[in-house]
Symmetry: none
């Protein structure tokens, strides 16, 4: 999956790649899935191709406020990222392992 | 939720903000949900009471490798934690906002 994203990105001009990188770096905080996709320089159509779905499915997913972790993981990986599930406590943070091996 | 957190954070001193960031970076142990519960000193029975379910539901959930984000969130919150969904990219990490307001 990540491989396909790399292929898409390699087709972008160096300027466009630099622009995407700068934009992603700027991002520290919180983004909705649609914002994140745009920050990655991807269209809903491009992401749909990577995920073997139709563009409206991407549009719909980006509006959802709940979904299976596996669905979110595929979506993030299609954008070239890695999903991390963290439980934060006053004493520290723990990565939840249940879902890592999927 | 995100807004409220941002407001809280903005009220923190730069030193406190840096401390929080360092702690988030310093992350993390990886644990399965059952290990995490035990590390929190909780029994399945205790967690079941908090979540208004029966103990076997907790046992079952701890074995799952996929679930709805809202289910995981309730489970983490019942242990006194906060769920954070992060997308990691080579250029940086982004907190996914879609699920924050549930």
């Amino acid at each position: 999956m990540a491989k396909k994203f790399a292929e898409l990105r390699d087709k972008m001009s160096p300027q466009a790649q630099a622009r995407v990188e700068a934009r992603v770096k700027e991002v520290i905080d919180e983004m909705a899935l649609g914002e994140l996709r745009r920050a990655r320089g991807l269209s809903q159509e491009a992401l749909a191709i990577v995920l073997h779905v139709k563009q409206p499915s991407i549009a719909k997913l980006e509006q959802r406020t709940d979904m299976y972790i596996s669905t979110l993981r595929s979506h993030i990986e299609a954008m070239g990222g890695q999903l991390e599930i963290i439980a934060k406590f006053p004493e520290g943070a723990v990565r939840i392992a249940n879902f890592s091996s999927l």
